[in-house]
Structures are given as C-alpha cells and as structure tokens.
C-alpha cells in the first residue's frame, strides 16, 4: 500500500526533482520551472495525504531496507511531523510557483536555481520525517548547503551574506553533531524512540545537560533564535527575491520543529528535563527575541530587512511556546510555525513583486502601491493583520494559544511580552502599510489620476501564490479550532 511508504517519498520526490532539474535544463530549460512546480506540488500533495493517513490510522513508522530500529534507519510520520510537513511543503510549493516569473530574464540560470531549491525542500522534508538524530543532521546540512548556494546566487553583497550564513550555519550544525555525539556516548543509540527509553535511566544529568545545551545552541543558530540570528538579516535582505521567498518562510521552521521534536519526543519535555532550567532559558530567550527583533524591525528602512528582523521576532514566539512546554503553548508554537510560514511567505512574495514593479526594496518605494497593485496590497494587509494578531487572521490564534500557555504556566511577564510583541508588530507593519496605502507617490501628485499609472499588478504567476497564501492565512484563522484539536491533539480545558 502506498500509505505505508509515504515517509520516504516525502523526501525522495523533491530529491528526484533536484536531480532531474539540471538534466532537463540541459535539453529544455523552459520545462525546468514546470518540473519544479510539479515536484513541489507532489510533495505537498503527499504531505496532505500523509496527514490524512496519520490522523486516520495513527503513526506511520518506516524501516529503510527492512532493518528494524535501533540498528536500522527509521522514518516516522506522526501528527506533528505530518502537520509540519504540510506547512513546509505547501508554502515551499507556492514559493517554487512564485519563483518562475521572479527568475525569468535570467536565461540559463533556471536549472541550477530550481535544482538547489528542490534540494533545499528535500533536506527540509528529510529533517521532518527523520526518526534518528544523525539522519536529522545529514538532512539539516543538505538543506543548509542548498540554502547557502541559493543565497549566493544574488551576487555582490549576497556573496558576503551567504559566506557569513555558511560559517555560522556550519558552527550550528557542528555543535548539534557534538551534542548528538554526547547523547550517543551516554546511551549507545541514535534512534529517537529508543533514546526516549534510555535517557530517563541515565546516571549523569550533567553530561545530559551539556549534550542538550549543544543541541539547543546548534539548532538555535539554524532557526535564527536571538542572539544567534547574526546570519539571518543579511541573508534575507541580499538574497534574490525568489530565494528570500523560499528560504525565509520555511528553513527556520524545520529547525524549530527539530528542536521541539528532540526536546519533547527524545528528552521527555518538562518532566525529563525537570532538573535542568533549559526550557525556562529557552522561553526567556524567545521573549527577548520577540522584543529585540521587533525593536530592530521598527528601525529599518528596507522592506526586506524589516521582514527579516520581524522573522527574528516571530521565531521568538515559537521558541517561547516550546520553552513554556505546556499543551496550550505547544499548540500555539506549532500553529505559529504554519502561520508564520504563510504570512512571511506572503510578505516576501509581495516584497519581490513590489520590487519588480515599483522599482526598489526601500519602504519609500512602496508609495502608491495600493493604486498600482491592489491585490498584492490586499495580501500585504492580511499578512500584516496576521503578524499583529488581529482576528480572523491566523496569527491571532497562535498568539492566543501562546498567551493562554504563558498564563497557565504562571509566567505573567512572558504573557506581557507576547502582548508587547503584538504592539511592536503594529508599529513596524504600520510603517509598511503607511507607505503602501497612505503616502502618495511623488509623481502621483503631479499626474492626478493618469490611468496609465493605475495598474501595474504583479504577473499572474506571482499573484496566484500570493493570493493563495492570503486566503490561506484567513482560512487557518477561521478553521483554527479543528487544526488545534484535531491535528495538534490539544484539548482546551
């Protein structure tokens, strides 16, 4: 049956696409984009199918080559991993669709670009289905190396940004590997389910704390957790629009998922880590990230840089939810993985379309956007409402669950930080909306209502994924209850 073999297919389909893209590019460069979109859509479709199967039949465990764990390699799909797979592959597939017009005019560059993009997607999907810590490392590096190369395709400043990303990312992956090494030495196992059995029996909590510390710092770098976010603003700002639209929404999310997976499935969450203050530190780091990222975002004059610092702030919400470690906060964190992937994807899609149509990435270039690109502006407004946390946009509900979690966890200060983060988002997103909707463009004041100026909407290939995400943000908001109770398994009390 197909459903038993779903876990490897989630990673193999985009990987196959990544191999075929350069081959096809040598013969028919025009077909590379359709191939990439097909591979991305197939991955997203399989993820949806996997989510349905997992919800209907329970956890799917796949033993590669028939070798049983803990000796063999295991791939696991449970509701959380299937949910994250849907979020990552769905937004990833839309980003691949969006990348077609964005990459146009770069003759001969399609094949390497889409090859790398699919390789990135394959790495992220592999991270999500991996059932052991070492394969997680390998897939993390597959995704990261593809990410470094993709950022570097911007040339010029992007090269320096990609270099910094590479150095910091490699340090992060190496520290993660070191932590995994400590866990292996203590338990003799790498399989997550097997480790979960062995970790509680460990004699030395001190070595465990060191191991977990390395893993958290390593993955913290990869997910852009403040103050380990040094690579993130430059990489998102200087990467080409199509790359930023692909990398910004999904790469940090897979790392955040891996962190939650290791802390809760392997180390037993709040009970298992009870002796170490690690989760508290993570929650407060998330709180600091929310404020620091928000304050930095307010100061930016470049839209892409503003969005990058907003990502630092929003990843703080996810870290805060993981650190609070109660059901409501975790439901909020996972819902925010989906919500932030969609709203940041939406905003980076719009930023790329606006840069192509209105001439630049600065906030002042957005002036008059609502007259020229009404649909794009509408999507920006929806994503901004989600970022701020206004119902019925999805962002409201993830922040609501986080707030409930903070109150239930007895952390009134962190609850205040969650609200303050929303206020900071009001300020920085309003700066975007102010320029896009309220301040007229200089030439508009002279030209009056010249119809030639009126419409310069993004091409359909960009507008369709943009609108899909805009509608998706609202849909997730409206149907948040079935997602949270049915998929994430959180029952409100």
């Amino acid at each position: 049956m197909l459903s038993d073999h779903l876990p490897p297919f989630l990673a193999v389909v985009p990987l196959l696409g990544a191999l075929l893209a350069p081959l096809l590019g040598a013969v028919r460069p025009r077909l590379v984009h359709p191939l990439a979109v097909a591979a991305g859509a197939a991955t997203a479709g399989l993820s949806l199918l996997a989510l349905r199967e997992v919800l209907a039949r329970g956890v799917i465990r796949y033993h590669l080559g028939g070798w049983a764990p803990p000796w063999g390699i295991e791939l696991v799909l449970d509701p959380l991993s299937a949910f994250t797979a849907v979020a990552v592959s769905g937004v990833g597939a839309l980003a691949l669709l969006y990348a077609g017009p964005a990459a146009a005019g770069r003759e001969g560059r399609e094949a390497p670009f889409f090859g790398l993009a699919l390789l990135l997607l394959a790495g992220l999907m592999g991270m999500i289905v991996a059932g052991d810590l070492f394969n997680l490392f390998v897939f993390l590096e597959v995704a990261s190396i593809a990410g470094y190369a993709l950022v570097a395709t911007g040339g010029g400043r992007a090269l320096v940004a990609a270099f910094r990303y590479l150095i910091l990312g490699t340090v992060g992956a190496s520290l993660y590997l070191l932590g995994v090494g400590h866990l292996y030495l203590m338990t003799g196992s790498l399989n997550m389910a097997d480790l979960a059995q062995r970790v509680p029996e460990l004699a030395s909590p001190r070595v465990l704390a060191v191991a977990v510390g390395f893993v958290v710092i390593g993955l913290g770098i990869k997910m852009g957790l403040f103050p380990l976010h040094g690579w993130l603003p430059d990489a998102y700002t200087h990467a080409p629009p199509a790359v930023a639209a692909l990398i910004a929404p999904i790469t940090t999310k897979a790392a955040a998922y891996a962190l939650a997976r290791i802390l809760f499935s392997v180390l037993g969450g709040a009970e298992g880590l009870g002796r170490a203050p690690l989760l508290t530190v993570l929650a407060w780091a998330g709180g600091v990230a929310i404020v620091a990222g928000g304050v930095m975002a307010i100061r930016q004059t470049d839209l892409r840089r503003l969005l990058a610092y907003s990502s630092v702030s929003q990843m703080g919400y996810i870290a805060l939810g993981i650190g609070l470690a109660n059901p409501a906060a975790l439901a909020g964190a996972f819902l925010h993985i989906l919500n932030h992937a969609m709203m940041k994807g939406c905003l980076f899609f719009a930023a790329g379309a606006a840069a192509a149509r209105l001439g630049g990435p600065a906030l002042t270039d957005l002036r008059g956007m609502h007259r020229r690109m009404p649909w794009t502006t509408a999507c920006v407004v929806v994503a901004a409402l989600s970022m701020i946390g206004v119902p019925p946009a999805g962002g409201f509900f993830s922040k609501w669950y986080l707030l409930v979690g903070a109150v239930q966890g007895g952390q009134p200060v962190l609850a205040g930080v969650i609200l303050a983060g929303g206020l900071l988002a009001v300020v920085y997103m309003f700066r975007v909306l102010e320029h896009a909707c309220l301040v007229p463009r200089d030439e508009d004041e002279h030209a009056g209502s010249d119809p030639a100026l009126e419409r310069r909407e993004a091409p359909p290939g960009m507008l369709v994924p943009l609108l899909a995400l805009g509608v998706g943000i609202l849909a997730v908001g409206i149907w948040n209850a079935p997602i949270v109770s049915g998929v994430l398994g959180f029952t409100a009390r």
Binding site: I145, F163, I167, V171, L177, G181, Y184
Partner: protein
C-alpha cells in the same frame, strides 16, 4: 590533586578535541581574513570528527571484522573497536567536504568581485 590530574589525563582524547575545537573557533572569530575563517571552520569540524572517532577506540581493541564462524558462539565485543562512529563520521566527512566546497566557491566569487579576502576592506566596499 593528583586524582584530578589522573582523571583528566586518562581522558586526554577529550582535551585534544576541546583544544582543537577552540583553535578552530578562535580562528573563525579573530581572523579578518575570510580564507582563514574557512580554515578555522574546517579545524572546528575536524575536532568533532576526531572526538567521535576517539570514542570508538578500546584498549587492545582490533578491527571490527568478524569471521563468520565466530558469530555462532557470539562475538567478543570488548576486543573489537566500535564501528558505528566510523560509519557516522564517513557521512560527516562527506558533509564537511561539501560545506568546504561551497565555502571555497563562494570565496572565489568574493575574490573576483572585491579582489581581497580582508573582511574589513570588503565591508567598506559594500
């Protein structure tokens, strides 16, 4: 005091990897030359590989190649090195080589554009 020294000395492989890791880390932070940063990164990664490999060694242990007839009576695992860290590090080395390749490719393009590896000069010209 001597007990502590004996304890620390018995695990000298850890000290070697910690020292190498810090050398790599310091090189990455302190040097303004991008090429030297890459060298530091490589030393950092190699230290971790060395850490894994050193843990697989056993006193008097030999290669974990087991003749088939021995397996019927069970294997004397104490006399064999642990093969798993070697297998893991083979993959990690591949990852490391790929990272190094991308880093060097980036450096070639950075040098073509800025004509230097000096980070301060490059940041000035941005």
């Amino acid at each position: 005091m001597t007990e502590i020294l004996a304890y620390a000395g018995a695990r000298y492989n850890y000290w070697v990897y910690i020292a190498l890791m810090l050398v790599g880390f310091y090189t990455m932070i302190a040097h303004r030359n991008l090429l030297k940063k890459v060298i530091g990164m490589n030393v950092f990664q190699t230290a971790i590989i060395l850490f894994f490999l050193s843990t697989s060694a056993k006193l008097g242990g030999t290669l974990p190649i087991v003749p088939s007839q021995v397996t019927k009576d069970g294997v004397a695992a104490a006399g064999l090195m642990n093969p798993l860290p070697h297998a893991l590090m083979l993959t990690a080395i591949v990852v490391m080589v790929a990272t190094l390749g991308v880093a060097l490719a980036l450096l070639v393009r950075i040098f073509r554009r800025y004509r230097t590896f000096d980070e301060d000069v490059i940041l000035d010209r941005l």
